[in-house]
């Protein structure tokens, strides 16, 4: 299988940081606050590979550093440690050494993100179609007719009524806002899609339909995805491989079935047991 993203020793420290930060935090210490300098180690020693067309689940409780990883890979936050390489069709990108314009290009052309909160992913001053247009314009499509057509196709694909494409997402339900976000993320057919708690806060039937949609898209387009969630059901449904995190570290990684059926780490066992 083709590797699309290689992450090595990625880490994020909020605060001044000290040489003993890494050893004094983590699941063994039971905290992600360094006892020496009180810096918060949001994530450290994160290494994993993402292959083309696969869905990687990142699971863990609140504050375990799941979202931080995605935010760093999408350039929303700057990492303190480590590196990540993106294997594009023609070239390799060392994500954290490229300049700001290249980062913006990658964000607009090669990556997509769906946030938990639609306010982060959508501009509520623009219409639903306008939000998709914005991303298409960022990726250098400047033909009004084509933009309209593409936005309509995408919204139909994500089951948002195309008649409502000229309305503000303000007037949409939570599930529809999430669908607009997905349509926006998919508009440039990115090879990598980040899903940050996409179904949290939605009711069960809407959750199921959104997950269905994501699975369909994944199978249809072969988009590689990183799905961050604390919901075991989402992991079971979407992810082929899963990473379990606690206190900013990876404590277990492997095939999803393996992790859910035969968890090795005490914390994972507790997590799986509590859900069942």
């Amino acid at each position: 299988m083709k590797k699309i993203l290689g992450v090595k020793n990625l880490g994020k420290i909020h605060g001044s940081g000290c040489p003993r930060c890494l050893e004094s935090t983590g699941p063994d210490a039971g905290s992600n606050i360094c006892s020496h300098c009180s810096s918060v180690v949001a994530a450290a020693n994160i290494s994993f590979d993402l292959h083309a067309g696969e869905v990687l689940g990142i699971m863990g409780e609140s504050g375990s550093g799941k979202s931080t990883i995605v935010k760093m890979l999408f350039f929303d936050e700057e990492p303190s440690l480590g590196e990540a390489v993106f294997f594009d069709d023609e070239r390799q990108w060392d994500l954290f050494s490229v300049n700001a314009a290249e980062q913006r290009w990658l964000r607009n052309h090669r990556f997509g993100i769906v946030y938990q909160n639609p306010h982060l992913g959508l501009n509520f001053n623009f219409s639903a179609g306008g939000n998709i247009a914005e991303r298409l314009l960022m990726s250098d499509l400047a033909h009004y007719g084509q933009i309209r057509e593409r936005a309509r196709d995408l919204l139909t694909r994500t089951e948002v009524m195309p008649e409502r494409m000229d309305e503000s997402p303000k007037k949409f339900s939570g599930g529809m806002q999430q669908r607009v976000q997905i349509a926006k993320a998919l508009s440039t057919s990115p090879p990598v899609l980040f899903l940050d708690e996409v179904t949290t806060g939605l009711d069960l039937s809407v959750q199921a339909r959104i997950l269905d949609l994501i699975l369909e898209i994944q199978q249809e387009l072969g988009t590689a995805m990183i799905a961050v969630t604390h919901d075991l059901g989402v992991i079971r449904l979407l992810a082929t491989r899963t990473i379990v995190m606690k206190n900013g570290r990876i404590i277990e990684a492997g095939l999803t079935d393996q992790i859910l059926e035969d968890p090795q780490h005490a914390y994972t066992q507790q997590l799986v047991a509590s859900a069942l």
């Binding site: 700001a100 314009a101 913006r104 501009n123 623009f126 219409s127 179609g129 306008g130 247009a133 914005e134 314009l137 960022m138 400047a142 033909h143 009004y144 007719g145 084509q146 933009i147 000229d166």
Partner: protein, 301 residues
């Protein structure tokens, strides 16, 4: 800087052109920088002027830094030489710049300070146009943070501005920006061309005259150097349109004084409630009228 250097002053203690020489030099340096980076908003130390910010202090500082003895100045406000802003600015410059001529004829001026219009008559490479600018940054409508706007300018990221145009077309079937139409200069920076109407935007393109923009309150100077590309922001399939002066029958309306059909028209309501159209550029209208008069006299003789 030599602290013993004596600044040239008149008996009352004022320098030529009101601003002291150091201030003028700072403005000139920033003008040069603005010309070197077409469309880039160069910050400068906008001085206190003896009039409120927002009354053309940015344009005035540019004019005062550029003007010298032997220059001929024209000041326009919304196309007219006789409206309050133009009259006051002209009076102030006459007062503080002895030896400077003023004129109303576009072709006689070497320096033209204007509020919100570019003269109808094509300007030459010997002329400089100074425009007064209230809001220099076109991105201010889509991004409130100046720090982020600067990054967007630097990266040439104007997609959100285009999204604004997209929304306009969706809701109103056309782009509703009547003035301050965002225009890309020399293929990179998009600037706010002062509140000139859309009609004047094509005049920026490959203009033989140097066009300078001064924003006094916002402390920015920017420029369209001579013979530089200026393209209004558009979609590939939605061309840029200027104001349409056609009447119900589809004929181009003409000026009721001089009969011009190629100028930007102002609309008035006449005594009987009828609509009257007249050239907004008063000098252009006057000159056309006087040529018509002399031609008529020629014929009657």
């Amino acid at each position: 800087m030599n602290p013993y250097y004596e600044l040239p002053q008149d008996e009352a203690g004022y320098s030529f052109g009101f601003l002291d020489e150091y201030a003028k030099r700072e403005v000139r340096r920033n003008i040069l920088k603005a010309i070197c980076i077409p469309g880039y908003q160069t910050p400068y130390a906008s001085r206190e002027m003896p009039m409120g910010r927002g009354f053309g202090t940015g344009g005035l500082q540019l004019t005062l830094s550029l003007i010298g003895r032997g220059d001929t100045l024209k000041v326009i406000d919304q196309g007219s030489d006789d409206s309050v802003n133009a009259v006051n600015l002209r009076h102030f410059i006459e007062l503080t710049c002895p030896g400077v001529d003023t004129t109303e004829r576009t072709q006689d001026a070497t320096l033209i300070q204007s509020r919100h219009r570019i003269p109808e008559m094509r300007m030459t490479s010997a002329q400089t146009l100074v425009l007064q600018v209230p809001y220099p940054d076109p991105l201010v409508v889509v991004e409130p943070s100046e720090a982020r706007r600067k990054i967007m300018h630097g990266e040439g990221d104007y997609s959100r501005l285009l999204t604004k145009l997209y929304e306009d077309i969706v809701h109103f079937d056309e782009i509703t920006i009547s003035h301050r139409y965002p225009t890309r200069i020399n293929g990179h920076y998009v600037l706010d061309p002062s509140p000139i109407p859309r009609f004047d935007v094509p005049k920026l393109h490959q203009s033989p005259a140097l066009i300078l923009f001064g924003a006094g309150r916002e402390k920015k100077i920017y420029a369209v150097p001579p013979y530089t590309n200026a393209e209004p922001l558009v979609f590939e399939d939605v061309p840029f349109r200027t104001e349409d002066f056609s009447d119900a029958q589809g004929r181009r309306r003409s000026c009721h004084r001089c009969g011009a059909t190629d100028s930007f028209l102002d609309e008035f309501t006449g005594n009987d409630g009828e609509r009257i159209y007249q050239c907004s550029d008063s000098d252009y209208c006057h000159q056309r009228l006087s040529t018509q008069h002399s031609a008529a006299n020629e014929v009657s003789r």
